[in-house]
């Protein structure tokens, strides 16, 4: 059994609770033990990186120190959390002076960080820890060639120098997972582009136009549904799809799954376990197709 310090992040605890719920259900199925880091702060998203990057670094150092105290690596299910934690981890590990400075602050909480923790996103864990081949053996409802368009999300791939997980121009990590559970990977130009989430609150027009155009591109390539490993992309693509339709003046009606939900369906988990009724765009058509 693999054990992780689980850092769901802000969105899965409020606006995409189904991503947290489905992650817990999937973890059980894959014999992964998730020890939630409960008393941790926000990773800083983009906002704190702009307004107060130092505070963002200190809070992330605290999160890393708490995981280290339990002798665990961190599992994330949000691309932006992954990037921020990994970036700050690299900064701290690569700069003894900075680490010493930050540890002096952490001492206020009786904590210190030595730099031993690794931060993994679910996609990384599935591709490397939990070999995709092993996933194949657990499939109960193969997706039967369902045409699935990936939406990787920016902060899973870029900046490559920090993440080093997959090629930002020709990513394949989701392809391996979709194919393992019987889906057909719909490769489309915008699969590694931006959903616009990080300007959603300040410029909804820009964000929804961006997500609308990219969903439409997936549709034009024959996708029956889209899958994202990031809850923030899910908000932009699913919850705001109605606004995106208004913005681009076209009906989209594209079901959007969290990665853990799609895998969960293939592994025989129920709709309820995976929180699929919480979506804005109905996933019923796809679910009945998979189950039948």
């Amino acid at each position: 059994m693999s054990r992780f310090a689980y850092y769901p992040g802000c969105s899965p605890k409020s606006s995409t609770t189904e991503s947290d719920q489905s992650m817990r259900a999937l973890a059980k199925e894959l014999s992964m033990e998730l020890i939630e880091l409960e008393s941790v702060a926000c990773c800083g998203s983009r906002e704190l990186r702009i307004s107060n990057p130092r505070l963002s670094l200190i809070l992330n150092a605290r999160t890393l120190a708490l995981a280290e105290k339990d002798n665990l690596d961190i599992l994330t299910i949000c691309n932006t959390c992954q990037l921020n934690l990994q970036e700050d981890n690299l900064k701290l590990r690569g700069d003894n002076g900075l680490l010493k400075e930050v540890n002096e602050i952490l001492s206020k909480n009786n904590l210190s960080y030595r730099g031993t923790v690794k931060v993994f996103h679910l996609v990384w864990v599935l591709n490397h820890y939990w070999a995709v081949e092993a996933l194949k053996k657990k499939v109960k409802h193969s997706l039967g060639g369902l045409k699935v368009a990936p939406f990787y999300g920016c902060h899973l791939l870029r900046p490559y120098q920090v993440l080093k997980m997959d090629d930002p121009y020709h990513p394949v990590s989701l392809k391996k997972i979709f194919e393992a559970v019987g889906g057909e990977y719909v490769d489309f130009k915008a699969s590694s582009k931006c959903c616009g989430f990080h300007v959603l609150m300040t410029n909804e027009t820009l964000a929804t136009r961006m997500s609308g155009i990219f969903i439409k591109e997936a549709m034009s390539q024959g996708a029956e549904c889209m899958v994202t490993p990031c809850p923030l992309c899910h908000v932009a693509l699913d919850a705001y799809q109605g606004e995106a339709e208004k913005e681009i003046g076209e009906k989209l009606n594209m079901p959007i799954f969290h990665l853990q939900q799609l895998i969960g369906l293939a592994l025989g988990l129920s709709e309820k376990d995976l929180g699929l009724s919480k979506h804005f765009v109905s996933t019923k058509g796809i679910i009945s197709r998979i189950i039948s």
Binding site: C10, S14, E47, I50, L55, I105, R158, L206, R209, A239
Partner: protein, 305 residues
Amino acid sequence: METVKAKIFRFDPGVDERPRYENYEVPYEKDMRILDVLIAIGEDLGKGIAHRWYCGVKRCGACSAMVNGKPVVVCWEPAEERMVIEPLPNFPIIRDLVIDRTGYDKVVSSFRKFLVRKEKPTKFPEDITHEEMIHVYNLVQCTECLLCVSVCPDVDIGYKEFAGPMALTQLAKHALDPRDGLDRTEEMIGLGVHNCVSCYACVDICPSEINPLEKAIYPLRSKLLKTKKGPEAKHLASFEEMVKKEGMITPAKLFLKDKGIAALLKLPFALKMGIRGKIPTKLGAEVPQIEEIRDLINYSERENV
């Protein structure tokens, strides 16, 4: 490899009805660059493919093109056995690989691309530390090659209220210079610095490794925040305040704080979110042991450690 096979985009808008691709093959030579392939096709095969280049050493930013789906400066990349060479996307085409840069040149010349001193320096050389200048020195390396613009998703969808990473890097070069005395608030807002979506595409593609996002755009946004002007000032301040008070962000509460009374316009959307359990019953619940987090923040701010 013995030869290089290149499939090249050809289009002359004044003559051709539509673009086409033509295949060429040239002998491979040791250490051959993509630029050498284009030169060989022109000089040895006598094919008049239009492409720009001047310095040949990654300093002039003229020879940018799309090679096998990735934008590159062709003088700095090795030739591959098979290549599809196209002009940079999202620009009008003058001919073949030559794009029309006029739009971006106009943007860059629209703001004051020079330092404006408030006071004359009291002595020469001035007392400026390396730490104060390192950001600016880094930004000076921008060659305006436009690779960052070609991968920017704002540009890709034709959004006009964002000037693009290259123009903002050029602005930052002056706005972040400690010697600059000009209030550049209106320039920053006018170029739409707040409309960057933080996708890091410009960071990954920059051949000069400038990191336009974190070294130009974020510092500009941070500078703008200090003026309390611009469309995101309230949002950024509310976000930081919420993290300091509650530890985590509750998006629904953040939205209310951002929009105030205007949030009522989104009531139908909020109801849909609520029905689906996407708004917590207690808005703004604090994370466990929030006191520890607050202590940490207070200590680091008070002591300025």
